[in-house]
């Protein structure tokens, strides 16, 4: 309805803006009204000529009758012709009922000049057929000018008075120009209404004052307090526009019977829940006689929509008093109509006799229907259950609609649809309190990934206490899964290890606030400090460095967990040295020439790749040219042939390494000036053994006073005389010893000069 009003306003604005002859910006409503052509002709007849003149019918040398003569082109028919003279006091209308014929096509309409006030008139011709249907209308025709004619009765003065609070009396002093008995009507206007009073008066020529009374009930019916306007006075057919203001009159002064004086309204919220239990309308009534009264009123909104009917009965004593009425808030809520509410009428009556009635007397304060308490309402709750048969590709849908409210529900509709094309509608006319209805649907050729939506009361036809539980959706639950993809030790050095593990969101939904922990297998565990989120299929790499107290084998376990999901993975690590140099030995030595051997072994459970080695401690480091791989427990032997630069002591380090692992071993050696070599057993016979060893001067110059000794394991044998050896000259020493018994003996050969020395050990069995 509001839209209609707006439409009308817009339409009227458009109307004002579309006049063809006046610019859109300066048109007034009067110009709009004047812009229309009100002439009309349905083709029945046409007025082909018109003239007007005055005549003196009583031969007193003054014209007393205006005659307007119309000539039509109609040659038959009965017509009523009207002439409307536009007089400042209103229309002066005369008519003639005429049967036209071929010999008489004229209408002659007479006006007594006593009705006229002007010398010249605009007039309108209206002609109706015998069915009172308009057939012709022509406007704005001018009469001739008439300056001298008999004038009619005029009002020379008007007064008003209160007659004992019983009447408002209007006194009219008239200058009467002809004797007549006429109805005299006075119209009093107020606001947009009027009251009138008519009395028949005998008028005789001359000056005369007549009185027209308005009775107290008529005055009371106005409910008006102020100046009335004496709008017009009609004396017989003559209407005189008086527009005179009366004194101030208060209808209450004249009221002899009970009446409604005033109105007030308010909302009553008794339980302070911001919803009003009542709309209270207080009628102030002035009771003139004690009796049992009935008070009636109807409330509408501003767009004429009915809201509520008030009907109360009460025994009242005389005097002014407030009649309190309360409208249940839930009754207003049920209308779904917003305020303010207009009292279209209010009536006070005794039995069937109306004492007072007023129209549109009051408008309540602005309110909204949802300001008021709800009546008991239904509450539709919908639930859905779906099972998918993957073999048959069919889906069974069960929908349960329950009324869990406090009132029955009518016309409950169910709409079911998927996210593609499937749709289904069902309805039930009535659903009682706590009653349910179950619908079953079976969909063939369906998939397990379909979203189903079911809505109860899609069009919101049922007013419910809770509108939020009318929709339910179902789709296959998305899989949530968490996985530790891998766990490995990617670096070790001594007892220090770095572990890497990968946490993967293996599900279909984002996982939030994931945590992890790692159990190092030695009783210690560490956990994430911050949690993190992973979208579906997303990975996160976790690196943890840990220092073990030893290099024992451990079972290491990494875990990740979120909500009710968890995942873990374990691995066994070997000793702390997965990549190990198991031995590093000097196989051959001759002065500064050396041959070393070291063994690199994979102690891990997994393949080790891209392994390299190097030797340091020599004058120039030696590095592997090619990298190699080792499977678990596999070893590789590395041989180094090196000529040391100097005659000095060396600490040689062998290192094996990958990007993540490394191990080192060291040995001590020397670039020797004297070298004992080839210590061996030449001959054995029982407990007798003959040993041989070589003493070589590996120095670059001669070495003198070289002394040797040999420890047999039981005794030491020394040289009898000292030897001198030139560079790279050697002597062969043979030793015979008879052992006292069999067994293992550690033998030692030593050589010594003034500056240099060397010795070799060996274990023999006798």
């Amino acid at each position: 309805m509001k839209n209609k009003i707006i439409n009308w306003i817009l339409y009227f604005i458009l109307l004002l803006s579309t006049l063809s002859c006046v610019s859109a910006g300066n048109m007034t409503i009067n110009q709009l009204i004047a812009s229309y052509n009100y002439n009309f002709n349905d083709g029945t007849l046409n007025i082909t000529a018109k003239n007007d003149y005055m005549v003196d019918t009583n031969s007193n040398s003054l014209n007393d009758t205006l005659i307007i003569n119309l000539t039509s082109n109609a040659t038959s028919g009965i017509y009523m012709a009207y002439i409307d003279l536009n007089d400042p006091n209103g229309k002066i209308i005369q008519s003639i009922n005429k049967t036209l014929s071929a010999s008489d096509t004229n209408f002659a309409i007479n006006f007594s000049t006593s009705l006229l006030n002007l010398n010249k008139y605009n007039y309108t011709i209206r002609i109706e057929n015998s069915n009172s249907a308009l057939v012709y209308e022509e406007n704005n025709i001018e009469t001739n000018t008439y300056t001298n004619y008999e004038k009619g009765t005029n009002i020379t003065s008007i007064t008003d008075e209160n007659i004992n609070n019983n009447y408002i009396r209007i006194n009219l002093t008239l200058n009467i120009t002809e004797n007549q008995t006429a109805n005299v009507t006075v119209v009093l206007s107020y606001n947009i209404s009027s009251i009138s009073s008519t009395e028949e008066e005998t008028l005789t020529e001359g000056i005369k004052t007549i009185s027209i009374d308005f009775d107290n009930e008529t005055i009371k019916s106005t409910h008006y307090n102020g100046n009335f306007t004496i709008d017009s006075v009609a004396i017989g057919q003559k209407v005189i526009d008086t527009n005179k203001t009366t004194s101030i009159y208060n209808y209450e002064t004249f009221a002899k019977t009970s009446y409604i004086k005033s109105y007030a309204d308010g909302q009553i919220d008794t339980n302070n829940n911001n919803l009003s239990e009542y709309l209270e309308i207080n009628f102030t009534v002035n009771i003139k006689s004690a009796d049992t009264y009935r008070l009636e009123a109807e409330l509408y909104d501003e767009f004429n929509n009915f809201v509520v009917y008030i009907n109360r009965t009460k025994t009242l004593s005389t005097g002014e008093q407030i009649w309190q009425t309360r409208v249940n808030g839930s009754d207003i809520y049920k209308t779904k109509i917003n305020g303010p509410y207009l009292i279209s009428y209010a009536k006070l009556s005794i039995g069937n006799e109306t004492q007072d009635i007023t129209y549109n007397p009051y408008t309540t304060n602005v309110s909204y229907y949802n300001d008021f308490e709800r009546p008991p309402l239904p509450d539709l709750v919908i639930a859905i259950n779906i099972t998918f048969n993957g073999t048959a590709n069919s889906t069974n849908i069960t929908i349960n609609i329950s009324n869990l409210g406090e009132a029955p529900a009518f016309n409950v509709f169910l709409d079911l649809f998927d996210n593609v094309t499937y749709t289904k509608n069902e309805s039930i006319a009535f659903l009682a309190i706590n009653e349910s209805i179950i619908y079953h649907f079976n969909l063939s050729n369906s998939t397990n990934n379909t979203l189903y939506t079911a809505i109860a009361d899609f069009d919101n036809l049922v007013d419910e206490s809770n509108e939020s539980n009318n929709i339910v959706q179902y789709s296959r639950p998305l899989i949530s899964a968490l996985e530790i993809v891998s766990l490995s030790s990617i670096y070790s050095s001594g007892n220090t290890r770095v572990f890497e593990f990968i946490i993967n969101n293996a599900g279909e939904t984002t996982l939030n606030n994931i945590n992890w922990s790692i159990d190092f297998g030695d009783g210690n565990t560490t956990a994430s400090i911050y949690n993190f989120n992973l979208s579906a299929s997303e990975d996160i790499f976790v690196f943890v460095e840990y220092n073990y107290a030893d290099n024992q084998s451990r079972t290491v376990t990494a875990s990740a967990y979120v909500n009710n999901l968890n995942a873990s993975k374990s691995t066994i690590i070997g000793s702390a040295t997965d990549l190990q140099i198991t031995s590093f030995e000097e196989l051959y030595s001759m002065g500064r020439e050396k041959v070393w051997e070291f063994i690199i072994k994979n102690n891990a459970n997994n393949n080790l790749t891209d392994i390299n080695w190097n030797i340091t401690g020599t004058n120039t480091p030696i590095t592997s040219i090619y990298s190699f791989n080792l499977t678990p427990n596999e070893s590789i032997r590395v041989y180094i042939h090196e000529n040391l630069t100097n005659y000095q002591a060396y600490t040689i380090t062998a290192k094996a390494f990958t990007d993540a692992l490394s191990d080192t071993e060291t040995l001590s050696t020397r670039g020797k000036e004297l070298e004992i070599s080839n210590i061996k057993t030449l001959y054995t016979n029982g407990l007798t053994k003959i040993f041989e060893f070589l003493v070589t001067n590996t120095f670059t110059s001669a070495t003198n006073n070289i002394n040797w000794s040999f420890y047999t394991g039981e005794s030491t044998i020394t040289a009898i005389y000292l030897s001198n050896l030139t560079s790279w000259e050697n002597i062969r020493v043979l030793i015979e010893n008879n052992y006292s018994g069999s067994g293992n003996y550690n033998i030692n050969a030593s050589v010594k000069s003034e500056q240099y020395e060397d010795s070799e050990n060996k274990t023999i069995t006798v």
Binding site: S23, Y82, S196, K347
Partner: protein, 183 residues
């Protein structure tokens, strides 16, 4: 005069009163003298023109909705205009506020009632002016009151559109602007 069939089509039924649509009905003719002499808000037809509160209303679109209860008779609700424009304007107003006008409670006792409800569509009533304009605009004036021929239903359609507030397509007009630079 609007036929009662039209009234029925728009959903109004008579209860314990008489609805009179149009000025040329028996009741309008019969009771105009009485209603013109009402002490409060007098109205009626006189000289084939609406007269209310002592004055004639002479525009075609003038109309009124008034009520009167003759002695020992049902209340009568009068809905009429000077011409068809006023009839339709008054009928629209009546339809819009039908619950108010047809409230049985207001008619329960008028024996001593001095005040009666009267709605007048005067010269300046915008709803009535709207009806006048819609019936006589460039699109519709050619069909005004036509009942016969190929366009015999067009005027009925115009009236139906007006009553149903379905006037957008016929209310779009060209606008003459103040100068030639704008359209």
């Amino acid at each position: 005069m609007i036929e009662i069939k039209t009234l029925q089509n728009i959903g109004i039924e008579s209860f314990s009163w008489i609805d009179e649509i149009g000025r040329n009905t028996n009741e309008a003719s019969q009771y105009s003298k009485d209603t013109l002499r009402l002490s409060s808000n007098p109205f009626g037809m006189e000289s084939s023109q609406i007269k209310a509160n002592g004055k004639y209303l002479n525009k075609p679109y003038n109309g009124l909705i008034g009520s009167y209860k003759p002695i020992a008779s049902k209340p009568i609700v009068f809905v009429y205009g000077n011409r068809i424009e006023g009839d339709i304007a008054a009928l629209k107003e009546f339809i819009s506020a039908r619950d108010v006008f047809l409230s049985e409670n207001t008619y329960s006792d008028w024996v001593n009632v001095k005040s009666m409800k009267l709605v007048i569509l005067d010269d300046y009533d915008t709803a009535a002016l709207g009806v006048m304009d819609l019936m006589h605009n460039d699109e519709n004036k050619q069909y005004f009151l036509k009942k016969d021929g190929s366009d015999g239903d067009k005027f009925a359609d115009v009236v139906t559109d007006i009553l149903n507030e379905n006037n957008y397509e016929i209310s779009i007009k060209t606008v003459k602007t103040v100068n030639d630079n704008t359209k």
